[in-house]
């Protein structure tokens, strides 16, 4: 019965593929250091769960509603990007996700606060109930592949090229007649839309969510996956997501006392993050956004 264990890991890997590729659209392609990505994930998860629990709304309507709401929030979040750049934008968006988290924790009448939302129904799309692990794994696969293809097309399209121009030098793009604010807002809205879909996908799988899902540690995890995979490469984000989902798992099988294993898992994961950044900053697959590219061309 090992397959169900591996299928579960596969379902989680699909979730993180959805989250990392959508985040990479913002960091790797548009150059927006968005540490608030987790807030979109939370909006998606909570909206579809609350709609399903309170009004019996079917999954795909709830998911789309959550995704649209997140897209609107994403669009609004692009206004600060006019003023804030780099580290400041990172801090501002981090502040945004912490505020969303504390609202989820304290608005008890809506979200039951720390008690979370148990009993979220399993999704059924057009009558096809997705209630077993293998079915969910298939659903995850379809979703992840769809998201990857959509994003790959967008980043390779002329619009994607404009996003990369904005990442490289927004001022220059403006003097070439590009409405950079509009492009950034659309990219952020799409990134938020997809992250929210990931939120609904996961909430209806694990049937229980609570504010601790959406803490800073989750943000760092997704960020590390994008960096380890390599920014500005959608395939890199997929690899980063798969690798960092699988990596901590073998630790379970090591015969250490459980009190040590807890700390060790986090230590190992943090060590990997620092090692990759230190010695292979361009990530496993990504192109070298960090290092100067020297390949014999007259410099």
């Amino acid at each position: 019965m090992i397959e169900t264990y591996l299928l579960h890991l596969f379902i989680i890997a699909c979730l993180y593929v959805i989250l990392t590729t959508s985040l990479n659209l913002a960091i790797g392609y548009t150059g927006l250091l968005n540490l608030g990505h987790i807030a979109f994930y939370a909006i998606g998860a909570y909206t579809s769960s609350l709609l399903a629990l309170n009004f019996g709304v079917p999954f795909w309507i709830g998911a789309l509603a959550g995704a649209t709401l997140a897209a609107i929030v994403g669009y609004l979040l692009s206004y600060p990007t006019i003023k804030l750049k780099g580290d400041y934008l990172a801090l501002g968006t981090l502040g945004f996700s912490i505020i969303v988290e504390s609202v989820l924790k304290n608005w008890v009448s809506l979200t039951r606060g720390p008690l979370g939302l148990p009993g979220i129904p399993k999704p059924s799309i057009f009558g096809f109930a997705i209630d077993t692990i293998p079915k969910y794994a298939l659903f995850g696969l379809i979703l992840a592949v769809l998201v990857y293809i959509v994003l790959e097309i967008v980043v390779r399209s002329p619009f994607g090229r404009v996003l990369q121009a904005i990442r490289d030098d927004e001022m220059a793009a403006k003097t070439l007649g590009k409405d950079t604010f509009n492009a950034k807002a659309k990219a952020l809205a799409l990134s938020a839309f997809i992250a929210a879909i990931g939120g609904s996908y996961y909430a209806h799988y694990v049937t229980f969510i609570d504010p601790t899902f959406f803490s800073i540690l989750e943000t760092i995890l997704i960020f590390s996956m994008v960096i380890v995979g390599g920014t500005a490469s959608m395939l890199g984000s997929v690899a980063g997501a798969v690798l960092l989902t699988l990596l901590p798992e073998p630790l379970r099988f090591l015969p250490f006392p459980s009190s040590i294993i807890g700390g060790m898992r986090q230590a190992l994961y943090a060590l990997l993050l620092v090692l990759v950044i230190r010695w292979r900053p361009q990530g496993l697959i990504g192109e070298n956004t960090f290092k100067k590219f020297k390949n014999g061309v007259k410099r």
Partner: protein, 360 residues
């Protein structure tokens, strides 16, 4: 180099799985899995649960048992996807026939999956949603009703009508304070609730607000780190009002700070359990340790008397009457058809020169 790392990880994973998987088909070994957080915010609760469960496991009288038992621990770092992964590993690879969970959060995640896989799940959790409508899930927690009732009885006895609640933002605490607020309102007692996030350890702002208000007592539903700081800051502020709580003084080892305060807690753990625990670990049992101890013994009792079939084992649990547990005499109150919890009476205790003393 690109894919080397991924392949390497997959290799370790598969080797790991097969290594532990193979000795499961040994005839007649029942595996009991324990899922708790040994890292992250709630690591302290995981440690206490592990102590209780391990002590019970070591004290099993191997000769009298028809089956042999294996105990495995999994850490979920208080994160939900890790809880689900821990369950999958314990069930799918180690073939666990029963799971012990340490809090409401992991309870709410594991309960639905354990129900579909038809394996026993004993959750040390206060949130009733964990057991609602489920056949193979039972809770080992003094249902808050008992504790709330006796707490409010003492409040009325003292003639108080306004109590200030300081509570940590935590699922277990939320369940109790929701219930006590409702019950208090019915009895005309005013409860004012103040919530504190886990990172926030400064209560002085709220205490300043309460300085010139007249109220009768504090109710401290606070996790260990909050409890120590709040207790100290209340004294520093010179408040005279008593600092009461439900269970929380059992969760910290040094109670000298709360000398003379009374509180409500599940029945005093029987002398035998406390003695063997202190002798084994060199410190008194805290928080969920006694619950962990009972859960392991109850599961073994269910499998010994009911056999490995989950339904038969559950019938043993459901017929539990006057069982001498570490938390006192237990009986199963299956108010709900399937879900139910092992009830143990709640008692009034007091801290007298640093010791927890049973009052009545």
């Amino acid at each position: 180099m690109k894919h080397a790392a991924t392949i390497l990880v997959l290799a370790i994973l598969l080797v790991g799985c097969t290594a532990t998987g193979n000795n499961v088909n040994e005839q007649d070994v029942i595996t009991i899995g324990v899922i708790s957080s040994f890292s992250g915010e709630m690591a302290v609760q995981g440690e206490h649960l592990e102590q209780g469960v391990t002590l019970a496991y070591e004290q099993l009288d191997r000769t009298a048992l028809t089956h042999s038992y294996r105990l495995l621990f999994e850490d979920d770092a208080y994160k939900s996807d890790k809880t689900a992964a821990a369950y999958r590993k314990l069930h799918d690879i180690d073939g666990a026939s029963a799971i012990i969970g340490s809090d409401s959060r992991s309870g709410n995640i594991v309960a639905p999956i354990a129900e579909t896989d038809a394996i026993l799940f004993c959750s040390v959790a206060s949130d009733p949603a964990v057991v609602k409508g489920r056949k193979y899930v039972f809770k080992h927690w003094t249902t808050p009703e008992a504790e709330v009732a006796s707490y409010l009885a003492v409040v009325e006895q003292q003639g108080w009508d306004r109590v200030i609640v300081l509570e940590s933002v935590h699922p277990g605490v939320e369940a109790i304070s929701d219930m006590i607020e409702k019950a208090a309102r019915e009895r005309g007692i005013l409860l004012e609730r103040h919530r504190f996030q886990s990172g926030d350890t400064d209560f002085r702002g709220t205490l300043a607000k309460l300085k010139n208000q007249d109220f009768d007592a504090f109710a401290l539903f606070l996790m260990p780190n909050h409890l120590q700081t709040a207790g100290k800051q209340i004294l520093e502020f010179g408040f005279e009002q008593p600092r009461t709580t439900i269970e929380m003084y059992d969760f910290i080892d040094d109670v000298s700070l709360f000398e003379g305060e009374w509180y409500i807690a599940p029945a005093d753990p029987t002398g035998r359990f406390v003695a063997s625990f202190t002798e084994r670990y060199g410190e008194a049992p805290e928080s969920v340790a006694p619950n962990g101890y009972d859960c392991l013994n109850l599961l073994v009792k269910a499998f010994e008397e009911g056999g490995t079939d989950p339904d038969d084992a559950m019938t043993v649990i459901r017929q539990l009457k006057d069982y001498q547990g570490a938390v006192g005499t237990l009986h199963y109150s299956g108010s709900l058809i399937e879900g139910g919890s092992i009830e143990s009476p709640a008692l009034k205790k007091m801290i007298v020169n640093g010791k927890r003393v049973l009052v009545e």
